[in-house]
Subunit: 493 residues, 2 copies
């Protein structure tokens, strides 16, 4: 029968792993901390990538590709960035293997093929890109440069989780160069808004936009903007970041331009990225104990059509034809449908399998229903089943998909909103995190020291200082010192 899924109540983290592995999204690999993204998971990523790519291009960005490797001397040029990533990077030191003289058929690193300068496998590409921009930027006429890259990056994480934290992951990284601080800041905000738009309107996941505290900032940035989403266990997941880099990288790589007034200035920069981590967010925000729940706009298959198969071969053939006809009609409307006419599997097995895979709608085509002018349609999000007239079925399906998309967002939003609490007492703060995890809005005295102490005591971090945050007088939840606004605390992935 169907694959068994650990329930959320039983073990949330095993539930997550079960969904990823048994839902066919990814698999472990022979390389420590690296995963294989399986076809179903990759199809989901392709949908996300294509939509984001279109959004980037519509906002004037172009794609390019920069080397995988960063020479150590470039890597260390921007000090904070280097410091931030040095502890977790893969280092290429040799360029050849040779036959092991002591062990036939085995290979060893050839000591004579040692690189003069080690190469770091990119954990992020600011260094290699800004070193290149130096060549490309001379005058204000060369600005802005609005470049994005789709790439793999490597961060040698010690504790990894499928999609959420892997040594290698896929992402996009935008790297823009501007003539003024204001333009770069506008770009930073534009991109965090674009990410929020994508996560809310395609992933059906509400986010809180905000700015990071100094301790949580990207290494090398002057400001990091973030979108934070709530998972079903109340923990936060940082879903995208957009960094205002000031002139830090321009100074580290000596990238200057001649402005309209004919004087030389350092270039202003931003960088921004989202990764395959978003797939982890999507899974944890929407799925249930029966499996994945895919938001229709991103689902690899939006509809599965299951024709009723019987010993009456003639009738069966008619059902399969009807199923394929429906698929074709849906394709014309841009709806991705799958027909399952595999006679070796029973309907119950198929139902469970597609529930596990999270396909938004299941349509069963049966002879008796058809004679009554109806088909049975089941929604994955609510598990509701109902009969719908065969007249204008594609229109009905389209309407249902839109409804599911909206319902998933509403459900996630009402869950999120009911799990944000204003807290003014540190004991309550601690207790709440253990007993009813969620987001906490609390006053903070603004120091890194207090932030660290709170993290140490509660494992909660400041996720962000929300944008358009209401200003109110209060006292820091830990130190009692005066504060002008609440910030968002949570335990996080």
């Amino acid at each position: 029968m169907a694959k068994e899924i650990t329930s959320r109540a039983e073990n949330y983290s095993e539930w997550y792993n079960d969904l990823v592995l048994k839902g066919g999204l990814a698999d472990y690999s022979a390389v420590r901390g690296c995963m294989v993204i399986k076809p179903y998971g990759y199809a989901l990523w392709e949908n996300m990538r294509d939509i984001l790519d279109k959004m980037f291009k519509e906002t004037g960005h172009v794609n390019a590709y920069f080397p995988l490797f960063v020479p150590k001397s470039l890597f260390e040029a921007e000090e904070k960035n280097a410091e931030g990533f040095a502890k977790e990077c893969a280092v290429v030191t040799h360029y050849r293997l040779k036959t092991d003289p002591d062990n036939k058929g085995k290979l060893i690193v050839d000591p004579e093929a040692k690189l003069e300068e080690e190469l770091v496998v990119r954990p992020t590409s600011e260094a290699i890109i800004w070193n290149t921009y130096k060549k490309w930027i001379q005058s204000y006429r060369d600005l802005p440069l609005l470049i994005n890259q789709w790439a793999n990056v490597v961060r040698w994480e010690m504790r990894t989780r499928l999609f959420l934290r892997t040594a290698e992951f896929l992402w996009q990284e935008g790297h823009t160069a501007h003539a003024t601080r204001q333009e770069a800041m506008e770009e930073t905000i534009r991109m965090i808004n674009l990410y929020a738009d994508f996560v809310e309107n395609y992933m059906a996941l509400p986010v809180i936009k905000g700015v990071k505290s100094e301790s949580e900032r990207f290494a090398g940035a002057e400001d990091t903007y973030t979108i934070e989403a709530m998972m079903q266990d109340g923990k936060a997941l940082q879903s995208g970041t957009s960094h205002f880099l000031g002139q830090n990288f321009a100074k580290a790589f000596d990238v200057k331009f001649v402005n309209k007034e004919n004087t030389e200035e350092f270039v202003w920069a931003t960088s921004w990225g989202v990764s395959t981590r978003l797939i982890g967010a999507l899974i944890m925000a929407h799925s249930d104990d029966d499996g994945l729940v895919m938001p229709p706009k991103l689902a690899p298959h939006q509809v599965v059509i299951i024709p009723f198969l019987s010993k009456n071969l003639e009738e069966t053939e008619v059902m399969i034809d009807k199923a394929n006809d429906l698929k074709k009609e849906l394709a014309k409307m841009g709806i991705r449908a799958l027909v399952d006419s595999d006679e070796t599997k029973r309907p119950g097995f198929k139902f469970a399998e597609y529930e596990l895979k999270g396909i938004p709608l299941r349509v069963v085509i049966g002879p008796r229903d058809l004679a009554n002018g109806v088909v049975e349609i089941a929604r994955r999000d609510t598990k509701e089943k109902a009969f719908f007239p065969t007249d204008n079925l594609p229109g009905t399906i389209q309407g249902l998909l839109e409804d599911i998309q909206q319902n998933m967002f509403n459900r996630a939003k009402s869950f999120r909103d009911s799990n944000i609490t204003k807290v003014d007492d540190f004991e309550v703060f601690q207790k709440l995190l253990d007993e009813k995890p969620g987001f906490i809005l609390a006053h903070w005295d603004g120091t890194a020291e207090t932030e660290d102490k709170i993290k140490e005591l509660t494992k909660a971090t400041i996720r962000c200082i929300p944008l358009d945050n209401p200003q109110e007088d209060g006292k820091c939840i830990l130190t009692g010192k005066s504060s002008k606004q609440r910030v968002l605390f949570a335990r996080a992935y």
Copy 2:
């Protein structure tokens, strides 16, 4: 004025580099042998990738993603493959850098962060993929597996050329698993045909399909199918390969399946790939001394529209509006147009720039022409300029683009065909290669020894034994031993 391009006659290889660099396709990077693919080059690659991806999906393939790194023990499992790539691979030996105690602000490899097992940066992914397939394949029901991956790979080449041979390059690699030899062989052929279709019908470049001699075969394959194209200097460029791997990788990684008769067998395999090298082929096959010539089906911009700008601002505005209107109309037909209304550059400068970039059609919108009901259109391929009526301009443009695509193919084919020579005498063979390079059809005795000797003496290699090769009795061009067919010789990139 316009950027200067070395002429082909003067220095073919500098001409090529000029086109790549000054045409804005790619740039050198700070990493030895690695290049930066610039936005214009990447847009070209995106077009190629999207078309190929569609063709793969239409033939039943799905995409997935496997790790960048291959543990050494997996890398060495298939002996011939390991031997073939060991000499040119990047090896990760450490996972951390640390601050240099003797040199503030500098980083050194942390000797305590040495990996227990070295990781090879994938030069190709057979090893990591077949190690994964072992988990995924148990029964004939799991077959065929038809998986493709779009990825970066690294081969530590000593002599690199932009696009043609770089340490890191982008490619796709298909890896399929089958229940029978015949099915795997059919897949091998299907994919070489698919590549030929793509290169001929999209890149406008005729190819010769064939099978490689043993010496030129992919390391680990039983047979390698290839498509070979001729560049303007008469040299061959291998443009795509499809490998029948037999059961070599299944045996190396112990991948067996239970067949319908309930007995265990090793799985049959293929792999196939094309890379950013194709961009090199496209440049060298079609371009001229004024710059790139892009085939319309792949050109990032198919049409550039240049409105005539004058001191009459009202008139200028009308011209710009007309240009933008035409762009919109073309977009509706799926034609990618660019409007250049930059007033800081003179028309002559623009014309040279877009010639350099190889945009297939240039449309000039001027007030006097418009009053006469015409616009001037220049073709990049033939340099012809002519006036066309403004009535049904989009239709005219579409027709011209189709004509250019066909003309580019015909021109490349007639050049290719006129440079294939049957030769029966070794002195003529040598002389021809030096004086009028091209492809040579000659008899060969079938031994690797003779092939090596010919290569040593002439730098020419056997590019392939063409498919459907006419059988005829003859004598080996070098040894005079008897031979049943001619094979295709050339110097190659």
